[in-house]
């Protein structure tokens, strides 16, 4: 299924980028280096970070509320059951991605973090979300739905209690679990798709997340392309059901999401692979830094709260510019 984008959503960044690694550095108990390069030349040219303008939000609250109300109506009509509105913080800047990445790892390390530095762009990410992890014929996904801002008093168990007792968070999460089960089922042997770990809490610097792990055994003859088509884009950052919800988003989000809610990962020669969902990321391209965040409209959500949730999600990245 390929959706056509409205003209207003013109592609700003590359649709996709592929790299073949020249050098692999494996950091385990000891460090080992595998390289195709005979003579290693270290490129020590680092651009210093320059911040040329303060961050601006692309959608102000009034506009956000308008989109929110349109989507709430669509939910009442049964057109969508949950939909995620993306907002962006943007400034004029060039960044030193290596410096940013190490600072980010100190403040907010996360399981799907990554950094890319190329000649004309860089990405720095502390993504917490695994879209898919494939080893042999086993495949896992770990959708996140549910965010709680940390306070001085909160801890993992109080967060779990909050999520369990909160109807809005629970039903949003349930929906994503059923949707990801369905995405996996498309490429897995019937009867093998299982919830391995249901509704647990992961802790980050500014927030707690509500997570579920789902796995399955891949059908024989399933290709990498089949898997990617079935799983991408990750449901937790779009809404549900995917196709209709994407159509609705295309009508309202006037800017391309660029890398946001896409995926970063690797495919090995033995066809094992791992992909995350690109959230909590800085894209620095053409002297502009862009930080996107999305939060969900379901029927019981309040526009103000969801709008603010986007700020909490972007916070640890915005802090790097201070």
């Amino acid at each position: 299924m390929v959706l056509k984008l409205a003209n207003s959503l013109k592609i700003v960044f590359y649709k996709g980028v592929f790299y073949k690694p020249e050098t692999i550095i494996k950091i385990r108990d000891n460090i080992s280096i595998f390289s195709n390069k005979k003579k290693h030349e270290f490129n020590n040219y680092f651009k210093p970070t320059k911040i040329l303008s303060p961050f601006k939000l692309n959608i102000k609250y009034q506009k956000y509320k308008k989109i929110f109300d349109i989507f709430s109506k669509k939910i009442r009509q049964g057109e969508t059951y949950q939909i995620k509105i993306c907002t962006k913080y943007r400034n004029k800047s060039s960044i030193n991605p290596i410096n940013f990445f190490w600072r980010l790892m100190k403040s907010n390390a996360s399981p799907e973090s990554f950094m890319i530095r190329d000649k004309n762009y860089s990405i720095v990410s502390c993504s917490p979300e695994t879209l898919l992890l494939k080893k042999g014929n086993k495949i896992i996904t770990k959708p996140i739905a549910g965010t709680l801002r940390k306070s001085k008093k909160s801890n993992r168990s109080s967060a779990l209690k909050f999520f369990r007792n909160n109807i809005k968070e629970t039903k949003e999460h349930n929906m994503i679990v059923d949707m990801e089960r369905s995405d996996l089922s498309r490429v897995c042997v019937p009867g093998t798709v299982k919830i391995d770990k249901e509704k647990y809490v992961e802790e980050y610097r500014h927030l707690f997340h509500y997570v579920t792990t789902i796995s399955g055994s891949l059908l024989k003859g399933i290709t990498i392309k089949n898997i990617i088509k079935s799983m991408m884009p990750g449901g937790s950052v779009i809404g549900c059901p995917k196709v209709r919800t994407l159509e609705l988003l295309n009508q309202q989000e006037k800017e391309n999401r660029n890398i946001f809610t896409g995926s970063f990962g690797y495919i090995k020669f033995n066809k094992d692979m791992r992909f995350n969902i690109i959230i909590r990321s800085i894209l620095n391209y053409k002297n502009t830094s862009e930080i996107s965040a999305a939060s969900g409209v379901v029927l019981d959500s309040a526009a103000k709260k969801e709008f603010n949730e986007n700020f909490i999600k972007a916070k640890s990245l915005l802090e790097l510019f201070k």
């Binding site: 049964g78 949950q82 039903k171 059923d178 089960r181 009867g191 449901g235 995917k242 209709r244």
Partner: protein, 188 residues
């Protein structure tokens, strides 16, 4: 063989896997029907999906064509689709149930399920059946234990079944048994 008509829902493949436990299943989009396989199938399942029954005239045509000739099972939108074809009104409800686990109760003694038995089920619906709905051979067999909203119908003469809830959801505890009984039930 079971033919599942997918209304581009993000839950359809859960339905496919659930029915695959009992028979061979073929699934296609509602706008890409394989007519020869549809003709060969014994059972047609109308999947959940976004929007309302009016958006899927092609599915209505298929229903009208095969009603009484094959077993037809509707889930969520599929359930509404069948009722819509039987001239029922499908309306918006004030409280909306997306991702809810509710208890439903068997309310009819004509049901293939024991009267007064209860099931925990997952719900994803904005719309509901407007009542009263009176139609020969159609029985509302399950209702929400709390709100009394119609949750299932059976028409044993024409071999038609529908659930407003999702038997394939992980929120539904006895989904497999529900589907098994319906697939085994014979026209009467």
């Amino acid at each position: 063989m079971i033919y599942i008509i997918d209304h581009q829902d993000s839950f359809t493949w859960n339905v496919v896997h659930q029915f695959s436990q009992f028979d061979k299943v073929y699934c296609s989009n509602y706008f890409e029907i394989n007519n020869s396989l549809l003709n060969k199938s014994n059972t047609i399942v109308l999947s959940p999906g976004p929007g309302s029954p009016k958006d899927y005239p092609n599915t209505s045509k298929i229903y009208n064509k095969f009603k009484g000739r094959k077993k037809i099972i509707g889930i969520c939108l599929g359930y509404q689709q069948i009722l819509h074809c039987e001239n029922a009104k499908i309306i918006q409800q004030r409280r909306i149930f997306h991702g809810y686990q509710s208890e439903v109760k068997v309310v009819s003694n004509k049901s293939i399920f024991r009267k007064n038995s209860k099931f925990k089920v997952g719900r994803y619906h904005s719309l509901k059946l407007q009542e009263p709905f009176i139609k020969e051979n159609f029985d509302i067999t399950m209702r929400c234990a709390k709100t009394n909203i119609a949750m299932a119908f059976e028409n044993k003469r024409d071999d038609l079944y529908g659930f407003q809830f999702h038997p394939e959801s992980f929120l539904t505890t006895n989904g497999k048994i529900l589907i098994k009984k319906i697939l085994q039930s014979k026209r009467s």
